[in-house]
Amino acid sequence: MNLNFDYTLFIPEFMLAGLAAIVVALDLFAPQVRKSWLSYVAAAGLAVTAVVSLSWVNKDSTFARIYAVDNYTTYFRVLFMGTAAVICLASARLVEDKLRHPGEYYGLIILSTVGAIGMAAARELMTAYLSLELLSFSLYILVSFAKFDSRSNEAGLKYLLLGAFSSAMFLYGLSLIYGVTGSTYYSGISAALSAGTHGFSFALLMALVLILAGLGFKVAAVPFHMWTPDAYEGAPIAITAYLSTTSKAAGFALLLRLFGGAFQVVHNDWSWIIAGLAAASMLLGNLVALQQHNIKRLMAYSSIGQIGYLLMGVAGLSHNTASALVLHLTGYMVTNLALFVVIIAWYNLTGKEEITDFRGMRERAPLLAGALAGALFSLAGLPLFAGFVTKFILFQAATEQGYYWLAGIGVVTSVISLYYYLMVMKEAFVTAPAEGETHRLRVPYVMQGLTVALMLGVFYVGLYPQQLFSAIDNATRFLFV
């Protein structure tokens, strides 16, 4: 077998590792530097790396058939690095105010990005698993990074214990797959499955169930979602944003690559499971979100609901649905980031994170309020914003695979979600600010810039996604080889 051991493929990952080291070193050896500079360095480094990684566009190469650097990987590289850069920028003030060890904080974010990219790029089970753990470990730490906040500790502990538990499940599933097919390469698995050794089917089923449980935990699909609200609520708010974006997206990147590359031949055996998970996620996430008072918990349930929509695309996995899924995922990430930037900025200024604490945002920080409205509308899937187009395309793709009932649940729950998004908006726009809290707040320029940039992104996806969708379409083509 002729394997390609081209280490240049990993240049972006190496750069990231180096960047992480630089950030930690800067923190360690230059304590006089303002800590917010660390975030700028990290963000700049991430941005540069993202640009560098663009040079692999339209190149299809793998490292020993284990690690593919194709358009799909490149797409997610850029996406994850961009997200990480935004998170770094958005955390600056938060880290300064509430957290210690900023170097490690940014370093971990950067390293976790490597893990996320690995999940997207892996075409082999071990690599995928280890990448997943790299991301997870980073997140365990980041979630409990507010050391003196007992809620953060609790969230970290829950996330960690349950994460270990579910990764054990995942691993058990992987081991069974290995046993069934004798390979850990996606292509090998696919080949073995299509060779049709049907005697293995029960082990295969069990393996699929366990793998789905593990990945379901990662992406927070019902019923493997229980950690989500608690972890979201306890985590430092920027990490909540990170959890709801990169962590989820990486899970889906892995899911798509794995199921597209390895399990597509036994599509019938798992598609209904994912459909069920999708339905349960959409329903539970959006219904329980109705009852929330804390914005982070609300976002947690809302993201569970969003996961349901995305899973819909996995259930009827095909090139079209994958494209649609990634498009929606992208739109969702941009929107969610915009929303979280607003929430972080507001939290920085007021120190509050209950929904009712958003009252008077229109009066006190109009820019934030506007972005809040836009982002919420986008999440609810209303037009002009990203959510409408992406959801439309995603649902259309799902119905093409015959999942009308899923699309039905999807749109019904979208309406339910609109209700609680509007409740948030009501506080921001309708309710008057509390006594003595009527003065304008000064939002830092960085946050303003981020808000505007992300909202422009939301509008871009929502109003003219042709290039983006084409790029995604090109990327997802590599899933099924």
Partner: protein, 501 residues
């Protein structure tokens, strides 16, 4: 042929206006007002141009056609997959004009808004863009896109600038009404959503282009299965019983201009959707289901009228009368014959202008009196003759008095209905009589009689309001006295609608 750029401008101008307003500082209220007034006037002129330049003798097809490809050759989409295809036919042209009129009126009426009028106008223009877009779209995706755009700003428009009211037996907060309106409308669009998916999938053309889809002959069973989705989905926005309650409550809580647009054009989107998506796309389904719609529409008409007789709040009364009148629109559509559908479209226009006038009037008294309870008023005519005049004019139009627009429309609806469902026509005409009952009840209760000194502080309408009202009234009279420009355009298109005989 005319340039489609004019048509696309109807969407572009308000959207650009909304974007431009974002940049205006909060405190520059007058800049916002003047800017909006100019935009509104421009749109009004543009709408007039589109309406009158629509050429009658071209067989009622789409004019002002333009297509910009938006998303194609990607995913499940093929060439022209989703395109910004615009064009008006004889049905859309009057609707475009209606939007121009009502939005112009709404913008002028909103002159006195002080609280964040910038935000108000941003949302207002987005709403207007959505409405224009829906009427102009010839692409299934964008039809739905703009349809939702039109609903999207409603929550904030009502919840922020609206008003809560307390009634003897219940309270209507603006937040409640706004939420109900938004949720109900968006819920309804679920059905449209699914319908669109089904149609796209069934046709298998890889495009949402409506003209391509119109050309495809859908299987009859498919049509029967999918048509109800469009019917109910769009019907909710048109106030179809029993999904109408968002409408009166929404009116009660909405600010004046929003009520105007809401009843004036937004509800028309629903009926328009039934034509565009239902009848044109799935004619056989329409033929199959229309008797059912006829039953519901008749309930609408009678039920709305009865409800209106029991209301004490101006806006509730008008709201329920809207339910009744939109029922007439649905009734006209349900006939599936040329005269009836003609009448329905005429009624859409007529009701749009008339109800806008109604709400403009109610707004002018509510802004001063801060109540809309008609039992509290008495003898208003002595203090506000102009107000009563215009209110009366709108009322008479809604009663269906000849020489006013309502008559032309209702008459066509009744004639059309009578051909196929005489009983429904009879009930409809009976409800038209009930309209007289509640309009005159209000009239004699609030406008006539001894003047109630409690309202001695009331002032006559401002000149701006009078101007707005005159504009609307002029169109009521125009259509009532000389309906030919409307009928020519509408009928030329309606006669070519599939399934309409």
């Amino acid at each position: 042929m005319h340039s489609g750029y004019w048509l696309i401008a109807t969407v572009g101008i308000p959207l650009v206006a909304a974007a431009a307003l974002v940049l205006v500082p909060d405190e520059r209220r007058d800049v916002v007002r003047w800017f909006s007034a100019i935009v509104a006037a421009a749109l009004f002129a543009l709408s007039m141009y589109i309406f009158f330049a629509y050429e009658i003798d071209r067989g009622g097809g789409y004019q002002f056609f333009i297509r910009w490809d938006w998303l194609q050759n990607v995913g499940f989409l093929r060439a022209h997959g989703i395109s910004l295809a615009f064009g008006v036919d004889g049905i859309a042209a009057p609707m475009v004009l209606l939007t121009g009129i009502v939005s112009f009126g709404g913008a002028l009426i909103s002159w006195k808004i002080e609280h964040h009028n910038k935000d108000f106008f941003i949302l207002f223009w987005v709403l207007v863009a959505g409405v224009y877009g829906t009427f102009g779209s010839l692409d299934l995706f964008f039809f739905f896109f703009f349809y939702e755009v039109a609903v999207l700003p409603m929550y904030l428009l009502i919840a922020v600038w609206g008003s809560s009211s307390t009634f003897p037996t219940f309270t209507r907060t603006k937040e409640y009404s706004a939420m109900k309106l938004t949720i109900m409308l968006v819920s309804a669009s679920i059905l449209i959503f699914l319908g669109i998916f089904a149609v796209f999938h069934e046709a298998g053309k890889g495009t949402f282009d409506l003209q391509t889809l119109y050309a495809y002959h859908f299987n009859e069973n498919f049509q029967r299965a999918v048509f109800p989705l469009f019917l109910v989905g769009c019907g909710v926005l048109a106030g179809l019983w029993p999904f109408h309650t968002w409408s009166p409550d929404g009116h009660v809580s909405a600010p004046t201009a929003v009520s105007m647009l809401h009843a004036g054009v937004l509800m028309k989107l629903g009926a328009f959707g039934i034509i565009r998506l239902g009848i044109q796309l799935l004619p056989a389904g329409a033929t199959f289901w229309m008797p059912g719609l006829m039953v519901l529409a008749t309930v609408n008409v009678v039920y709305g009228a009865f409800s209106a007789t029991a209301q004490r709040d101006f806006k509730y009364m008008i709201g329920y009368s809207s339910v009744s009148h939109m029922g007439l629109v649905l009734m006209g559509l349900a006939t599936m014959n040329v005269i009836g559908v003609d009448g329905a479209v005429l009624q859409m226009f007529s009701h749009g202008v008339m109800t806008a006038l109604f709400f403009a009037m109610v707004g002018s008294v509510y802004d001063q009196a801060h109540t809309r309870d008609m039992t509290l008023f008495s003898g208003l005519v002595q203090k506000m003759p102009f107000f009563v005049f215009f209110f009366g004019l709108a009322g008479l139009a809604s009663v269906g008095l000849p020489a006013l627009s309502g008559f032309v429309a209702e008459f066509n609806v009744f004639v059309g209905t009578f051909k196929t469902y005489p009983w429904a026509a009879a009930l409809g005409i009976f409800a038209a009589m009930l309209t007289a009952v509640y309009i005159l009840r209000m009239w004699s209760m609030s406008f006539f009689g001894a003047f109630n000194d409690r309202w001695s502080g009331l002032k006559e309408m401002t000149y701006l309001e009078r101007g707005t009202a005159s504009l609307l009234a002029a169109f009521i009279l125009f259509m009532g006295l000389w309906p030919a420009p409307f009928v020519d355009r509408i009928s030329e298109t309606v006669r070519h609608l599939p399934g309409v005989s």
